[in-house]
Amino acid sequence: MDGPSPPQPPLPAPFTHTHPAPTLLTQGAEALLYCTYFLTPSHPCALKYRPSKPYRNPILDKRLTRHRILSEARTLVKCRREGVSVPGVLALDAEGDGVSGGWMMMEWVEGKTVREVLVAGAKRRKEGRDDEDGWEEGVTALMGKIGRAVGRMHEVGVVHGDLTTSNIMLGPLAAPQQNGVTTNGEHMEQVGEGLGGEIVLIDFGLAGQSLQDEDKAVDLYVLERAFGSTHPEAEEGFQEVLKVYEESYKGAKVVLKRLEDVRMRGRKRSLLG
């Protein structure tokens, strides 16, 4: 049974006027993620609210909140204009009003996280409800797309800092669909249920700009571990991420070499416990 959900700090102004009220999607350690709309109801958006922490020194708290919001927004804006697939930033208030924290609005990504998609798929397969061939092909294609998206992000000099399957979304198909057939003639069934669509990277709260191979290798290592721990059935497919990553930009080979060192250190660390 679920325990009582942690209390939610109320949203600050101007969202006290929002009608209908924003819907809470997730409550992380640092941020609450709401679904609402931007200027008109026809423009859905995600609202990431970073409430102030009552246990922190108020001056420090204000500075931290401001820094986190601007840092995430800055990275998203840079990524988007350089062609990395991320939600665009629509508005932000990094100052808050001194007591309630700050927020950022970004484009709404229609779709699910890769984690949700893989968990649902694994469940369906266990229940024997999915044909295996289509699924495996689909996962491989998905891995390739992730490798390319991460490669492009690294190419423009951004490291994510928390590259897990919860922070990669699978957006809708770029081509409008008609009766299960995309307008470019691709059949949905061929890619396994729910595996089609465009990769969108999210959650740049810990991201930064770096040209260091080490930082990029750590991104890949974190992702590899995320696949290994939550989606063991997809671990094999991870090779495809690296394969496509390797071909996606000029510095990729050196980063993959570095990944081997990072893995080694990781193993030693876990041996030492």
Partner: protein, 215 residues
């Protein structure tokens, strides 16, 4: 002739209505600008040069930002209306943003915006005052009208967004065989490309406005 439009932006208090009027062929920009410079209280509007406005969302995002700062009592410029013009800018330089996005003596396409910051400011008082003060042709405030009178090349230059969303830009990559691969998108018609280009430009601008040069 089109009339003054009254809008309610999401999240703002319902009584803080936004009134907008778009004009072409304005003949008395010099006079209007002088009223702003002299601080004539009757002319407390955001008077924006519409040739540097990409879309309704572009303009209204600035209104939203200024209104929020107004509600929180932390305007950086003279009033909420100058703050709207300031909020269109991509940096913290108020004078520069007012010069770049505000009315100039040679402005012919003009966007006038006013917020009901006081119950005495109503759609009819504004409407009356604007028709008496602005010599020009009032047209509907919508994306199609703005697209017909704005200067995209100039907008790109102002925000230093040359190439964003454009064919062959960083967002798209050339395959080894020379064909262009659009970022995940299926090749479409020219119209679809133009729409995608406009959308990318808009989202890039909103991001820069939100950051206001913060580093």
């Amino acid at each position: 002739m089109a009339a003054l439009q009254t809008l309610h932006l999401a999240h703002l208090p319902p009584d803080l209505a936004v009134h907008v009027a778009l004009y072409t062929d304005v003949r008395n920009a010099s006079f209007l600008r002088d009223q702003l410079l002299q601080g004539n209280p009757d002319f407390e509007y955001a008077l924006v040069d519409a040739s540097v406005i990409l879309s309704t969302t572009h303009a209204l995002a600035a209104v939203f930002r200024a209104a929020n700062d107004h509600l929180k009592g932390r305007l950086k410029s003279r009033n909420v209306h100058s703050e709207i013009v300031f909020s269109l800018g991509a940096n913290n330089n108020i004078a520069q943003s007012l010069r770049t996005f505000g009315i100039t003596p040679t402005t012919t396409n003009l966007l006038a915006i006013k917020l009901s910051t006081d119950p005495s400011i109503t759609s009819s008082t504004i409407s009356e005052h604007l028709s008496a003060s602005i010599q020009g042709i009032q047209v509907e405030f919508n994306d199609a009208k703005l697209a017909g009178l704005n200067n995209i090349a100039k907008i790109r230059k102002l925000y230093k967004l040359g190439g964003v969303g454009e064919e062959g830009s960083k967002g798209k990559r050339r395959r080894k065989d020379g064909t262009v691969e659009s970022s995940g998108l299926v090749d479409g018609t020219a119209a679809k490309d133009a729409e995608r280009e406009r959308r990318e430009l808009e989202v890039a601008i909103l991001g820069l406005m939100a950051l206001r040069g913060a580093v």
